[in-house]
């Protein structure tokens, strides 16, 4: 439709202005193919407008009533839980070697160094032949994570050279006291109560 004087595809009838196409093609300029013909609703205050209001209200009522049949989308939280994805970053876990039972953590403090929230505290001690805690030379005598500061970024598990710390799936961490949110090594090593369902493959 580059040529403005070209004949429109639907030639205007003799009574110009009678239809929507005709009004668009009045004059010499043709708006072309890509023009959007605006459909105007009946003006408010007219009979047709009132009828439209009535019909549209009824349509709205039908819509809301239809929602009753569709059922609810609510997940009743304490009873039902949204399953988490396998890589969900919840509460940390410390790990042991499954065969020997020794702790994987060697107390290197790399996690504490990587932590942007500065919530990990590690105090290392030497392993002795009588008291062998970890597989390496040293072990973490104190390992504390202040979960009220943790931002669950997962940098600690990335920083850990022995995969000793990973992010678990537990996200129900509220407590009545802030001091209860400082998790010690024993708490982090303990098998957590699996309170969170895991999302299945393809779910």
């Amino acid at each position: 439709m580059s040529d403005p004087t070209s004949e429109p595809e639907n030639p205007a009838p003799a009574t110009a202005g009678a239809s929507a196409t005709a009004t668009l093609n009045v004059g010499r300029w043709s708006p072309g193919d890509d023009v959007i013909v605006v459909q105007r609703t009946p003006a408010p205050g007219t009979g047709r407008g009132a009828w439209r209001t009535f019909v549209e209200t009824a349509r709205g009522l039908k819509t809301t009533f239809g929602r009753i049949k569709e059922g609810t989308n609510t997940i009743s939280y304490p009873e039902e839980k949204v399953p988490v994805y396998p890589r969900f970053r919840g509460r940390h876990k410390l790990h042991r070697f499954e065969d020997t039972g020794l702790e994987k953590c060697v107390g290197c403090s790399l996690c504490a160094a990587a932590c942007p929230a500065d919530c990990i505290r590690v105090v290392a001690a030497e392993n002795t032949p009588e008291n062998r805690v970890s597989a390496g030379e040293r072990y973490a005598a104190v390992y504390e994570i202040n979960l009220s500061r943790c931002i669950f970024c997962g940098y600690c598990e990335v920083a850990c050279p022995f995969d000793a710390i990973t992010m678990g799936h537990d996200y129900e961490l509220s407590d009545y006291d802030r001091s209860d949110l400082i998790f010690t090594k024993e708490m982090l090593l303990a098998e957590p109560l699996e309170r969170t369902p895991l999302r299945n493959e393809g779910e």
Partner: protein, 341 residues
């Protein structure tokens, strides 16, 4: 008409007291039911459950709400006018309960050897009584909003004043058609006059106008500009809490029930059943309550559907659409009544 002269005068005093207590008790019990019904139904319409924690299926939720509200501390802003602040909710609740008294729940029955009408009182000026109390109810909102000494309350009250005055006219005129057709102002008389045909058929326009205006009169969505939570916090009851707020809340829902009852009575044949079914007298209140519940459901349904009107839309709708329609309806009905009689 003879009905007017007879009804209401042959009941002994103890029957009247008993009736007053029973009707007040019934009204008092119906409001929590409407409360929970509204929250549950609106929840379902919005894809959620609604309250489901207190009691079986959340049925005791209104009880918990009322208990919570009644045990709250009473306080008021320093800018408020104490006396008016305290009595404004009382006016609201009083007018709502008073209007509830005239809804006929059934025909005259023979109980304990007495003739008892199943209604609080059958006033010979039924709709006028209703509008009188509707007009006083407006003071509850107006004084409550003004005496709070808060700009939100004040704006809500001012809107309420304009809205109630505008829509009361249409509401009244919508009933004029029915009154002319029934040739009586007594509500039981109007019900008895509907034995041939319920008035929502011949008075369909009047019915629509009355229903629409009733939404405005009860400050329900889409005409809830007096509350308008999105812009006025809580409207006229922003500064209210505890028992006083509960009074306003109670009055609002009782007003919904009253309006449902009036629509039932005036347009849907009260205790009458279609197709010439005549059940025994004790079924009458059940029929009325059932019809009322349908309209209460409609109120809830509309609240879940329609968005709130803008203030100028509300005004132009009331004065430019409803009032001319109501006038025309009254005029046409008057002509038809004159021609056919």
């Amino acid at each position: 008409m003879s009905v007017l002269a007879l009804v209401g005068y042959y009941e002994s005093w103890w029957v009247q007291i008993l009736k007053a207590i029973v009707i007040f008790a019934v009204g008092l019990q119906l409001v929590p039911v409407v409360l929970i019904a509204e929250r549950k139904i609106m929840g379902r319409m919005q894809g959620r459950y609604g309250p489901n924690r207190v009691g079986p299926y959340g049925a005791l939720q209104p009880l918990a709400d009322i208990l919570k509200l009644l045990t709250k501390e009473q306080f008021r802003p320093t800018t408020s006018v104490g006396f008016l602040f305290a009595i404004a909710p009382l006016i609201s609740i009083l007018t709502a309960v008073a209007a509830f008294a005239i809804i006929p729940f059934g025909n005259v029955q023979h109980i304990f050897g007495e003739r008892v009408g199943l209604y609080g009182v059958d006033v010979s000026i039924g709709p006028l009584y209703l509008f009188a109390f509707g007009a006083i109810a407006f003071y509850g909102i107006m004084l409550g909003g003004w005496s709070s000494g808060s700009k939100y309350s004040f704006l809500g009250a001012m809107r309420g004043a304009a809205q109630l005055i505008s829509y009361e006219v249409s509401q009244g005129l919508a009933l004029v058609g029915v009154i002319m057709t029934a040739q009586t102002l007594s509500l039981t008389g109007i019900v008895n006059a509907q034995k041939g045909m319920w008035y929502f058929i011949p008075q369909f326009v009047g019915f629509l106008i009355f229903l629409t205006a009733s939404f405005a009169e009860t400050n329900r969505a889409p005409f809830d500009l007096t509350e308008a939570d999105a812009e006025l916090v809580g409207g006229y009851n922003t500064e209210y809490g505890g028992g006083r707020f509960a009074s306003y809340y109670f009055a609002e829902y009782l007003n919904v029930l009253v309006v449902s009852g009036i629509v039932t009575t005036v347009f849907f044949g009260g205790w009458l059943l279609p197709f010439g079914i005549h059940p025994p007298g004790w079924v009458d209140p059940i029929i009325v309550l059932f019809k009322m519940s349908l309209f209460t459901f409609f109120f809830i349904w509309v609240r879940a559907t329609l968005p709130r009107l803008r203030y100028d839309q509300l005004m132009s709708f009331g004065w430019k659409v409803l009032l001319p329609l109501a006038t025309l309806n009254a005029l046409v009905t008057a002509i038809l009544v004159v021609v056919t009689h």
